[in-house]
């Protein structure tokens, strides 16, 4: 029972209630049918007993004179007459036996010849004297009556009655009950189904909107539907709409924060880049002055031009990395080893400022099927976070490997470790939820980007071990489309 309950617990109400109604109807129908049939059977048997008893009384009286004289003809004639008189009894045969068990006469003389013994299968019935023996399978009943005179048995009468008509009536009643009850069950089940479906329709509406919200396309319930809903459902709809609005506001706020964070990061990057460009610029200007003054000297000119080339090449690297990161076309692009190789240029200001050592282990041997732009963004964010968290002269370790199915990237630092807020930010970003208040927006943004790649981000940190952030992304899989601003836009549209 408990198993059945568990099995059906997740069935929809629109199915469960009609089935329950139908089940109860079936139980009631079976009970009623049982009572009716049982009562009918009792009544029929009583009626049959009464009729056949009267029949046997008549037959016994009619055959007694013949039995007394052992008169074959008179006995037969009496049976023949009795059979016609008691046509309603539907006697198939009546046999009159002498005390020695031989047939004196029978209504079916060819089947029971005069002086023959009773067939064994019928002889067994003689012990049932006075009882009505029924065989419903064969549709037959048998009656045995002893004929006595002055306390002496002078013969026995055995009659076989065809009760198939009675059984047919019983079967007819049974089928009528089955049809009527079956019809009622079907009608009640259907009515229950329609009624319950109508009753739970408001819940279905809520379910549809929740499903849409879960898939990132939340929609408000129409005010007209709220007005026409039952009070309890109307209240539910209003609460749902309030929830959706709150969610949309949080999403918009998070998107705004993320944008601001991005701008802040861009600011830091621009500042670093300016610094990186400015540093060689002094030397370059000196080199230009040197060329102007001593350019006629071959050795000086060559050394100075070489210095200019190296200085300009450094500037060129920084500018190119920025261009690749922020100007590349959106959409998937296969990640190459080179896509990761220029990232150190973008963080060299941070690493230089703190004299950090970068252990760069780019082990990608060939291109991998993953969104290169997103991966570069993630790695850059992680590297910048690591630089920010690292103490001076400490080590930052970058490692990138790939198998046939995954890309595995980790960034480790020797900083103070990750606060609890960082874990919350990663979890919220992975679940598509809004960013937690406070710090951790960079990690939340990174987590959202990782979610786009169907990648998992794992964090490891301790008080003295620094922090390791690992990204494992599946290769070749279609990325989940995720539009951060959808909820906010829907809210504004509604």
């Amino acid at each position: 029972m408990a198993g059945l309950w568990r099995m059906t617990s997740n069935w929809p109400l629109a199915l469960k209630v009609p089935m329950l109604v139908a089940g109860l109807t079936v139980i009631v129908a079976i009970a009623i049918s049982q009572v009716v049939l049982s009562r009918l059977a009792r009544e029929q048997e009583a009626s049959l007993r009464s009729i056949t008893s009267a029949f046997m009384d008549g037959v016994s009286t009619a055959v007694t004179p013949g039995l007394q004289r052992q008169d074959v003809w008179e006995t037969f004639d009496s049976l023949d007459r009795a059979r016609r008189q008691y046509g309603a009894v539907n006697a198939l045969f009546v046999v009159v036996l002498q005390p020695n068990g031989q047939v004196l006469a029978a209504s079916e003389p060819e089947r029971f010849p005069v002086t023959s013994p009773l067939p064994p299968h019928l002889a067994g019935l003689l012990g049932q004297e006075g009882n009505l023996v029924l065989d419903e399978e064969k549709g037959r009943a048998w009656l045995v009556r002893r004929i006595e005179q002055e306390s002496f048995q002078i013969g026995t009468v055995l009659a076989e009655i065809d009760i198939s008509d009675i059984l047919a009536v019983r079967r007819e009643v049974l089928w009528t009950l089955i049809l009527v009850n079956g019809g009622l069950t079907a009608v009640l089940g259907l009515a229950g189904y329609l009624l319950v479906r109508r009753m739970v329709r408001p819940l279905s509406l809520i379910q549809q909107h929740l499903t849409a919200a879960g898939s990132g396309r939340p929609e408000l319930i129409d005010e007209d539907q709220i007005r026409h809903a039952a009070p309890e459902y109307g209240d539910l709809y209003r609460r749902f709409n309030a929830m959706i609005r709150g969610q949309a506001e949080r999403e918009a706020l998070a998107a705004e924060l993320a944008n601001q964070e991005k701008l802040a990061m861009l600011g830091r990057l621009a500042s670093g880049m300016a610094h990186e460009v400015n540093n060689p610029l002094g030397g370059l200007m000196n080199a230009v002055d040197t060329l102007e003054v001593h350019g006629d000297r071959e050795s000086v000119r060559r050394r100075t031009i070489d210095l200019l080339r190296r200085g300009l090449a450094g500037i060129q690297n920084v500018v190119r990395a920025a261009l690749v990161t922020y100007k590349s076309a959106p959409g998937p692009k296969r990640l190459t080893r080179a896509d990761l190789e220029d990232l150190p240029f973008l963080i060299q200001h941070e690493t230089g400022a703190k004299q950090l050592n970068l252990d760069w282990q780019n082990e990608l041997a060939e291109d991998v099927e993953v969104d290169a732009s997103a991966v570069r963004q993630i790695v850059l964010n992680l590297l910048l976070n690591a630089c920010a968290a690292s103490p001076e002269r400490s080590m930052i370790t970058f490692r990138a490997t790939a198998t046939s199915s995954t890309l595995d990237i980790s960034v480790a630092d020797e900083g103070p470790g990750l606060p609890e807020l960082a874990y919350q930010a990663v979890a919220a970003g992975a679940a598509g939820a809004g960013a937690p208040l406070g710090q951790g927006l960079g990690l939340w943004t990174t987590s959202r980007l990782a979610a786009r790649l169907n990648a998992t981000m794992s964090l490891q940190s301790g008080p003295s071990q620094g922090a390791t952030i690992r990204l494992v992304a599946p290769l070749g899989e279609e990325r989940e489309e995720y539009d951060v601003g959808a909820a906010a836009r829907a809210d504004r549209a509604g």
Binding site: D71, V72, W73, E74, F76, R81, R84, P113, V114, T115
Partner: protein, 316 residues
């Protein structure tokens, strides 16, 4: 001696007894028979033109077998009416339960005359005299048949040995004596030859017994079988005749030899012999499927007497 001739009226349409949906006449309803006889006699006496005759003049009593009375009230009425008119006497039809009773009443003088069977007639030939003999197919003769079920494959009567055999009456010529004599002729008796015998007390019942399978064979009046084969073909067609006997004297109307010369017997003889010339009489003959009545010599029954003697001799 029992009367067999009265059974011959059985084939006629019944107006008295209906058994369910069976239009055939009853032959065994004794209570009804008694009631009808009583009521019938009273009615006939009450409406008779001779009612109120001079005191002391009793009605002419004419005996018939019980089965006859049961079979056809219309025939009884016609016969009583005809005899009364033709004889100029009030006539009372008397029936009793058994052949033996009618024979006993006739012998004791309780009846003036009776339609009996040839077998009782020859048994009591010293006391009984012939009044008239019916003419069947223009002869005062008839046959006894041994019948078997129509679908029984059988070549001769000898194969009946071991049968359950239905006789009509122990005092019947065609329904017992003829077969008993046949067996006696071959040094057999019914008790030894047949596995079991029983009496149906009616020729029609013999046919019913054989047709239903109650009996494997039966001895029956040929006249009854012939007439019934026309009137009740469904029943009779379920049987077939295995053996026809020789022609024997038709059951006669007899009286005590001591009264044979009385005026009343003379009137009865005249009434019977002239029956074919009277419209009522013709109606009666038509019902009985007879051609008339004739005064015949007692030698007409010599065949029956010979059979009787043979059976007596062989102890059958």
């Amino acid at each position: 001696m029992p009367n067999e001739c009265s059974e011959r009226m059985l084939p006629h349409r019944s107006v008295v007894v209906k058994r369910g949906d069976d239009p055939r006449p009853s032959v065994m309803d004794m209570n009804r028979r008694t009631l009808i006889a009583t009521i019938g006699g009273a009615v006939l006496a009450a409406f008779s033109p001779f009612t109120g005759r001079a005191a002391g003049q009793s009605a002419f009593s004419f005996g018939l077998t019980p089965v006859f009375l049961d079979s056809d009230i219309e025939l009884l009425n016609e016969l009583q009416s005809y005899l009364s008119d033709a004889m100029g006497l009030p006539v009372t039809l008397v029936k009793r339960r058994t052949y033996q009773e009618i024979t006993a009443l006739l012998l004791s003088g309780e009846l003036d005359a009776a339609w009996i069977c040839g077998f009782p007639f020859v048994q009591h030939a010293d006391k009984l005299a012939l009044v008239a003999v019916p003419l069947y197919r223009q002869q005062p003769l008839y046959q006894s048949y041994i019948i078997v079920p129509a679908d029984r494959a059988i070549a001769g009567w000898e194969e009946l040995k071991g049968d359950i055999h239905a006789f009509s009456d122990p005092d019947s010529n065609s329904g017992y004596l003829v077969t008993a004599a046949l067996l006696a002729e071959h040094n057999q008796s019914p008790a030894k030859f047949f596995a079991k015998t029983f009496f149906t007390y009616g020729h029609r019942n013999v046919i019913r017994a054989v047709a239903s399978g109650l009996a494997h064979s039966g001895s029956v009046d040929g006249y009854v079988w012939d007439v019934m084969s026309v009137r009740e073909p469904d029943l009779v067609s379920r049987t077939k005749v295995l053996r026809h006997s020789e022609l024997l004297g038709f059951p006669p109307i007899a009286c005590l030899r001591s009264r044979h010369d009385s005026e009343e017997i003379g009137r009865l003889t005249d009434a019977l012999v002239s029956i074919a010339g009277n419209p009522h009489g013709v109606k009666i003959l038509t019902m009985l499927q007879l051609d008339g009545f004739a005064v015949e010599p007692e030698s007409t029954f010599s065949g029956i007497a010979a059979n009787y003697a043979l059976v007596q001799l062989k102890g059958g």
